[in-house]
């Protein structure tokens, strides 16, 4: 028995999976309908059947090293056709959630994010920071309020950039640290593919990685494989719109800063300015994506739609709020700020 592995299920991990939305994981009786109907999973060692068994048997390390859980687009074809109602789609989402929690750096942040009781604290933290910045900039003198409203008086750009640029670099580094911890996990061989397929050396290896990268980017931009999923075909469009909405929003923010620093285009940028147009267009894309009528025309009645989207409420929350913040300053009657 060359790869005889002594197995001892981690009951705690199973409970975590159930808490994170995979509450029906144990209903699976290993019929593999999910692996057969999934249009994305590969022919060799297809997912999510083996993941359901590993989750049901509490094989935490095995799952954390399993790259397949990241290929899943959460289209839920498998959940629709699962004869036992084990909802493989949600179980995989729950496993991914546990991976975040486990590999997040610093680990207290990971645990906090996973624990709903910590939500008020998580919301309070940024508010305190912003308040401190405002206090730092205005020293408590809010007399400018009765004059012409100019943002920079409340929170000058320099303060924003001074805090948020290093802040985002720090976030990126922390994310990288978590990713590296995850990547190291992948090194140790998983029992599924005891000897991971070695990458060919030299030029052919690089070409293979490049081709892989190009194909991935192309698929990301067109959401090709998400459209293959039968059940949630309309969701592919919605996701695409939101995806480009965000990219547009990020580009707008970046261009605005450049415009201000390089071309001395002081805010507020006139409505007719292309950067403003880019910002508004992205907001429209984002909102259209969220309330895409296609979602309703999808195969579900509203009630089933609700329980499908439930685990993703925090994402929805952020999608709706940030475009609102962008749009409302232009729309609200403003005595003359721009």
């Amino acid at each position: 028995m060359e790869n005889m592995q002594t197995i001892s299920p981690d009951l705690e991990f199973i409970r975590n999976i159930k808490k994170a939305g995979g509450q029906d994981v144990k209903k699976c009786y290993q019929c593999a309908t999910c692996a057969a109907v999934c249009s994305i999973s590969p022919a060799q060692q297809p997912f999510p059947r083996k993941e359901m068994l590993l989750a049901g048997w509490g094989q935490k390390d095995e799952l954390f090293k399993d790259p397949d859980i990241w290929l899943c687009h959460q289209c839920n074809d498998c959940t629709i056709y699962c004869p036992r109602g084990a909802k493989p789609g949600d179980v995989l989402a729950a496993v991914r959630f546990n991976v975040f929690e486990n590999f997040a750096f610093p680990s207290f942040m990971g645990r906090a994010l996973a624990n709903p009781k910590a939500l008020p604290l998580l919301i309070l933290a940024p508010m305190i920071i912003i308040a401190a910045l405002i206090w730092g900039a205005t020293r408590g003198d809010f007399s400018f309020l009765n004059e012409k409203i100019v943002y920079s008086k409340l929170l000058p750009h320099i303060w924003i950039e001074a805090f948020f640029i290093p802040g985002s670099i720090l976030t990126a580094l922390l994310a990288l640290a978590g990713l590296l911890r995850f990547w190291k996990g992948l090194e140790t061989p998983s029992l599924w593919t005891p000897h991971p397929r070695p990458l060919p050396q030299g030029e052919r290896g690089f070409r293979e990685v490049l081709d892989g990268a190009v194909a991935t980017v192309k698929d990301l931009l067109t959401h090709g494989s998400l459209r293959d999923c039968g059940t949630n075909k309309p969701r592919a469009w919605a996701h695409l719109l939101v995806f480009f909405g965000f990219i547009g929003a990020a580009a707008t923010a970046g261009l605005a800063v450049l415009a201000m620093r390089l071309f001395h285009l002081d805010p507020p940028i006139p409505l007719a300015h292309p950067i403003k147009w880019l910002g508004n267009a992205s907001a429209v894309l984002g909102i259209a994506g969220i309330f895409n009528p296609g979602l309703k025309a999808g195969r579900h009645s509203c009630s089933r739609l609700h329980n499908l989207l439930l685990p993703h409420r925090h994402r929805l929350f952020s999608f709706v709020l940030c475009p609102l913040f962008q749009v409302c300053p232009h729309v609200l009657p403003d005595p003359g700020s721009c």
């Binding site: 019929c31 593999a32 057969a36 109907v37 022919a43 297809p46 004869p83």
Partner: protein
């Protein structure tokens, strides 16, 4: 339709509803203990589902062999009254004193019919043959099947009023055809009611990802039984419906509908062994054919394990432990392509076949027509054991089960309620003696075991003489 006067009533010890293997067994077994039994069947002939089967597992023996003996036991026993084309309208009362109101739908052929077939030769109208799931046609006047009981023709009510039926009327030399027969109501009094309404196959079209109804070469197990049967639409030849070509590669899709919360949440018990049997049909006709069986748990309990073990020794039979998730079709040759992961090797294959057979499950008929007196059903529609009002379930009305279990269950059903009727055994046996004494006088319907179902000229359904 004029109000039919209830003018006839039958006194009986047991009323058995359903003329399949379970209902027949219950009626015969009770009658052979000297008690009277009335057996109701909705269709034009006894036999139920087993009459449509080609062979039984595990012996691969013909159902007609058991039917032959049971029909002989019915014919020679005056205590059994068979009423076909009959439906229960209402049952009232309680154990020991039930009263059933039954409507006898017109057969349009009376007891003078000798099954000589002249009317069929003269008939010009064709109808879909539901016995073969509509895969072929019969004339408007037809014999239900070769082992039909009563051995008598029947006219499809849709065509009874058609002018062209006059030709069949003329062709009959025995005055057996009566196109103006009307439904008649009768009443049956009995001390016990056995409900053996049986099952029908699950509607495979509801399995949208398996393509039944879309792809011609995807059939169901019950249709395969008709293909294999000599009296089936293809007279025993099993070929592809799309181009009638031979079978080189066939796949059996287990749990098509069963063990599925969105369809039938229970296991229909017989589909595994039925598919193994049908694999034997294929092997008999195509010695070199490749046979694939996709299963989750191969369920051949008890002695049936021999049947599974024998099949595993066949080098061209491949068992894949993994359910077929979806079936697509290769448009060029209309070959069904089944997608399933073999969960032991972790390899998902898309296998192109000549034909795919969906092992669809059993749906109890108690779902569409619930038994009377609000008999308790379980949440799948089967009669719950120890039913409250004394209506006794028998056969697949209680559980999905195979033929010998149905017969065992029906024999037991006959032994439960009617036995502890208030009438003591002496008088019941005496009644039996009186009834059996009738053996010496032919069963003219005049005075048969209290049957006062007089043979008026318009009797659609005399005692099944």
């Amino acid at each position: 339709m004029a109000e039919i006067k209830i003018n006839d009533s039958i006194n009986s010890d047991v009323l058995v509803v359903g003329g399949g293997i379970a209902g027949m067994t219950a009626a015969i077994e009770i009658a052979e203990t000297g008690r009277r039994a009335v057996l109701l069947e909705q269709k034009a002939s006894l036999g139920g589902q087993v009459a449509t089967f080609h062979q039984y597992f595990p012996k691969l023996c013909p159902p007609a062999c058991g039917m032959e003996i049971n029909l002989k036991r019915i014919r020679v026993n005056p205590l059994i009254t068979v009423l076909t084309l009959s439906q229960v309208k209402k049952i009232s009362g309680s154990p020991g004193a039930y009263e059933a109101e039954i409507v006898l739908n017109p057969r349009f052929v009376n007891e003078k019919c000798t099954a000589c077939g002249d009317c069929e030769k003269a008939c010009e109208i064709e109808r879909n043959n539901d016995f073969n799931y509509g895969l072929d046609k019969t004339k408007a006047v037809y014999l239900p099947h070769l082992m039909a009981y009563p051995l008598r023709y029947v006219i499809d009510p849709k065509f009874a009023a058609d002018e062209r039926m006059k030709k069949c009327l003329a062709a009959c030399k025995y005055g057996a055809i009566e196109l103006d027969m009307k439904p008649r109501n009768i009443r049956v009094k009995a001390d016990a009611v056995v409900w053996a309404a049986g099952w029908k196959p699950y509607d495979a079209a509801k399995l949208d990802q398996l393509g039944f109804g879309k792809y011609p070469n995807v059939i169901t197990n019950v249709i395969m039984e008709r293909f294999a049967s000599l009296s089936g639409p293809t007279a025993g030849k099993i070929t592809r419906p799309s181009d009638a070509k031979e079978i080189k590669k066939i796949g059996f899709v287990q749990c098509a509908g069963s063990r599925d919360d969105k369809h039938l949440a229970y296991c229909s018990t017989v589909c595994c062994t039925a598919s193994m049997k049908q694999a034997a049909y294929i092997r008999e006709r195509y010695p070199q054919a490749e046979i694939h069986i996709f299963y989750i748990d191969a369920r051949s309990p008890g002695r049936l394990e021999d049947f599974y073990a024998k099949l595993q020794k066949d080098s061209k039979v491949f068992f894949h432990r993994g359910k077929v998730g979806k079936i697509t079709e290769n448009p060029q040759n209309k070959n069904p392509i089944v997608a399933a992961e073999n969960t032991l090797t972790g390899e998902r294959r898309a296998l192109e076949l000549d034909m795919a057979v969906l092992a669809t499950g059993m749906v109890p008929n108690t779902l569409d027509e619930p038994p009377p007196l609000n008999t308790a059903l379980d949440d799948f529609g089967f009669i719950a054991p120890g039913a409250s009002q004394g209506i006794i379930g028998a056969g697949t009305a209680v559980r999905p089960m195979d033929v010998s279990a149905s017969v065992q269950n029906a024999t037991a059903a006959a032994a439960v309620r009617p036995m502890d009727v208030s009438a003591s055994v002496q008088n019941a046996t005496a009644a039996a003696m009186k009834a059996l004494a009738l053996v010496s006088r032919p069963r003219q319907p005049a005075d048969n075991a209290g049957v006062s179902l007089l043979k008026s000229d318009k009797t659609p359904e005399a005692v099944a003489v």
